[in-house]
């Protein structure tokens, strides 16, 4: 790709972001003429850029949008949600083109048709500003689809028509595979786009398919599944007749599924696996017979574990809509990762590096001089002093070098935050709630790797806030709150940590409800639950498989959300906490390390070998007298400040045999893993060091309990432990 095009891609992406931000702000406040001007300028500049690289289709599409925006500016047309949506669709299309160009280095050759569609949208909009949405396109395909699949039609919420472009096979895409993972797929239909030619002139590698489908998932989920293909997809929400019919199982079918459920509830003994498989198969067949294919597949997937299957069957009996399985619910977000491949770096930061390079060269020369002195038999004391000085100098320079390099690797949180206004807008519309999203501190910086992995956890958090936290408008008014809920997305820097809050002013976490459900689902024992404070109870929403929603919705999946957040954040070396104000709202906070490149470690010795423990996990180190350590079953524990801590012998845990119980006090490192405390017995405590952690690769990558390795000053390899794995 030539430099020119690269520059075009980088700039265009920035302009698209700016335009989208302005459009959303404009929708919020239609009188904001600054934002309108901003959006207009961004579209105009984008159009100019398209002209420079000879991308006429893009120029045409943007020109149409610009025309409409210009009419908004002169006041000829009022700002309407449809106009904003159309303009956003136009931007989506541009992003899609940019992605294609990034991959191929050329202007996509199917762009004309998509541009035509956009232009048509805007001309309609101009002629009848307040007219019906642009769905007035022929809808015969929908009728045909509904006729062909009457059984599925009753439960369909969305009809989709996907016309992939002819070159999609060449790009390695498979439109059929996309349909396979379409959330809530009920029925599929295939037809040629153009009538097929005679077989001997058929080009097997040109896609000539139009794929139409019925889905039981929400329009929002389908839009997500087709992210980046806006121009090729037509969505048509269908009359929502589904929700009541969904639960209506014919009596005989209900009886059969209930019988399977009973079978699963029997105490597990031998033959449990066979029973599980049989129950899954019977239930799936019953559902398939009823034409409820997606649910049947869901059951088949859930048959892997008795708990999963039991829950799935209960959900079916309860008539919960099967919007999508968790995997689909997470949403496909491939195209966006491309955007951060090019980093824009402040020239001052580069200058700092250049200056450092100079200083390091000087320091290196000084070292050469000292080496020559040593060779000539200089005074050892003077040499030692000189070397020490130089070591200090190097330390300072390398420190600065690290800081400079980190500062190049950082990205502002804006990168991930900017996608949320749009998402919240769409999600709120799909659940019929009024929500305003306020983002703050989006200039806060964090390591690139962290910023880029934040989208998914944040999406779960925002979805949860929207779905479980925020009440309906009526409920809010009854509770004396403003009708429109507010969700804050806030970033801030606190020392070596980056804090990200998602705070809503909804109903907060229902502590009594969580306590009850936790007891029912066996998340913790009744005694443990009784002993827990309200705050601890609320934290249980992060426990695996927990969900307080009495009704499973499309939006926040099936209670895997918050669990997934904790796992994802844990992988980044951060933690999740919850501040709950019942009735007033909840705040979920992510505490993340500022950088992932450096890890602070504490070294310990066990079984004659050195190990590193991440400093973040270390709570304290204590000496414990042998008689205070008591065996509990096969394990050991001791009491520290009225709290019983399990004690694991590190050498034993790593497979070394302990020769004999030593007489001296035990050296114990108290560590926290998630919300739990544990402790490790080690032979000796070492020092604190900062290291660059290298993940394990090759043969060693499968080794449990090991996070990575690093080199010590004397050349020895230090193995860094993954406590989470080790203590489970």
């Amino acid at each position: 790709m030539n430099e020119f095009l690269e520059q075009f891609l980088v700039e265009s992406r920035e302009l698209v972001e700016q335009a989208a931000g302005d459009l959303l702000a404009l929708e919020e406040n239609p009188q904001d003429s600054d934002r309108l001007d901003g959006a207009f300028r961004a579209f105009h500049t984008l159009k100019g850029a398209a002209g420079i690289v000879d991308f006429h289709a893009m120029g045409r599409a943007l020109h149409a949008a610009e025309d409409v925006l210009s009419r908004l500016r002169t006041g000829q047309t009022p700002v309407s949600p449809k106009l904003i949506s159309d303009s956003l669709t136009c931007l989506d299309l541009v992003v899609q083109w940019l992605d294609a160009m990034q991959e191929t280095g050329e202007v996509p050759n199917d762009a004309e048709a998509a541009a035509d569609a956009i232009v048509a949208r805007f001309t309609d909009a101009g002629d009848a500003a307040a007219g019906p949405p642009a769905q007035a396109v022929p809808t015969q395909w929908i009728e045909g689809l509904l006729e062909k699949y009457p059984a599925q039609a009753a439960r369909a919420r969305v009809a989709v028509r996907y016309s992939p472009d002819a070159n999609c096979f060449f790009r390695g895409e498979d439109p059929l595979a996309l349909m396979e993972v379409l959330p809530g797929l009920l029925a599929l239909d295939l037809e040629p786009d153009q009538p097929f030619p005679a077989l001997d002139t058929l080009d097997p590698f040109a896609c000539n398919l139009v794929l139409t489908a019925l889905s039981s998932a929400s329009a929002e989920m389908i839009v997500q599944a087709f992210e980046g293909r806006a121009g090729q997809v037509v969505l048509k929400p269908l009359a929502a007749s589904s929700d009541t019919q969904q639960g209506d199982l014919p009596p005989h079918a209900r009886g059969l599924i209930e019988a399977q459920l009973l079978l699963l509830l029997e105490p597990s003994n031998e033959g449990a696996a066979g029973r599980l498989a049989a129950a899954g198969r019977v239930s799936a067949n019953v559902l398939r017979h009823l034409g409820r294919v997606d649910e049947a597949r869901w059951i088949e997937q859930a048959s892997a574990g008795s708990d999963g299957l039991r829950k799935a069957l209960e959900a079916i009996l309860a008539g919960a809509p099967i919007g999508a399985t968790e995997t689909a619910g997470v949403g496909a977000t491939p195209s966006h990762d491309a955007s951060a491949r090019v980093l824009r770096v402040d020239v001052e930061r580069i200058d700092a590096l250049v200056k450092l390079t100079g200083e390091l060269t000087v320091a290196k020369n000084a070292l050469g001089y000292t080496a020559a002195l040593a060779q000539d038999g200089g005074d050892p004391k003077a040499l030692a002093a000189a070397l020490k000085d130089q070591q200090a100098l190097f330390e300072r320079l390398i420190n600065e070098l690290q800081q400079s390099v980190f500062s190049i690797r950082v990205l502002p949180l804006r990168h991930v935050f900017q996608r949320f206004p749009r998402l919240v807008r769409d999600m709120a519309a799909s659940v019929g709630k009024s929500v305003r999203l306020i983002t703050e501190g989006d200039a806060t910086e964090a390591d690139k790797a962290i910023v880029e992995s934040l989208f998914e956890p944040l999406l779960h958090m925002v979805r949860n806030a929207l779905d479980h936290g925020v009440e309906t408008e009526q409920q809010r008014l009854d509770a004396g709150k403003p009708a429109i809920a507010t969700i804050h997305l806030r970033g801030s820097r606190n020392g070596e940590h980056v804090l990200i809050d998602v705070e809503d002013d909804g109903r907060g976490v229902d502590v009594a409800g969580v306590r009850r459900v936790a007891a029912e689902r066996g998340v913790a024992s009744a005694e443990a639950l009784a002993a827990m404070a309200d705050e601890e109870i609320a934290e249980l929403i992060f426990a695996p498989g927990f969900s307080t929603a009495s009704e499973v919705t499309d939006l926040s999946g099936r209670g895997v959300g918050m669990d997934a957040v904790r796992a994802a954040v844990g992988r980044l070396g951060g933690r999740v906490s919850l501040a709950n104000r019942p009735g007033l709202g909840a705040r979920v906070r992510l505490t993340l390390p500022f950088t992932m490149m450096m890890t602070r470690l504490m070294t310990v010795e066990a079984g004659g070998q050195m190990f590193g423990i991440p400093m973040d996990a270390v709570v304290e180190t204590v000496k414990v007298a042998r008689e205070r350590i008591v065996p509990v079953g096969a394990a050991r524990a001791f009491v520290l400040r009225d709290r019983t801590l399990p004690l694991i012998d590190l050498a034993e845990a790593l497979g070394e045999r302990r020769a004999a119980s030593p007489k001296t006090d035990a050296n114990v490192v108290v560590v926290s893993i998630g919300a739990e405390l544990g402790s490790l017995e080690v032979d000796r405590l070492g020092e604190r060091i900062d290291v660059m952690l290298k993940p394990m690769d090759g043969l060693l990558s499968g080794m449990p309990g090991v996070a990575g390795t690093t080199l010590l000053g004397d050349g020895r390899v230090l193995i860094v432990l993954d406590l989470q794995e080790l203590l489970q």
Partner: protein, 81 residues
């Protein structure tokens, strides 16, 4: 090879990638009356399904893959009707 032609007809087996499209088309051109047995087919690329759609080849199934069986086979049957 996941596509193979025999005297008894054409067989699609396992996961048929896009690379199978060309040989499948050639086999169908060589014998337009050939049946396509996809009973052992787990998954097929869109290009393969497109050829099945365009050629209206007689299919012997049902295919092994769930997605093919529950959705694609139905769609092909409807397209033929």
């Amino acid at each position: 090879m996941t596509v193979r032609g025999t005297d008894a007809g054409i067989y699609l087996e396992g996961v048929c990638p896009i690379e199978d499209a060309e040989p499948l088309l050639q086999l169908l051109l060589a014998d337009p009356e050939a049946t396509v047995d996809w009973a052992a087919c787990d998954l097929a690329h869109g290009a393969i399904v497109q050829i099945l759609l365009a050629s209206r080849a007689r299919l012997i199934g049902p295919p092994k893959g769930v997605f093919l069986r529950d959705y694609v086979a139905l769609a092909l049957a409807h397209a033929r009707a």
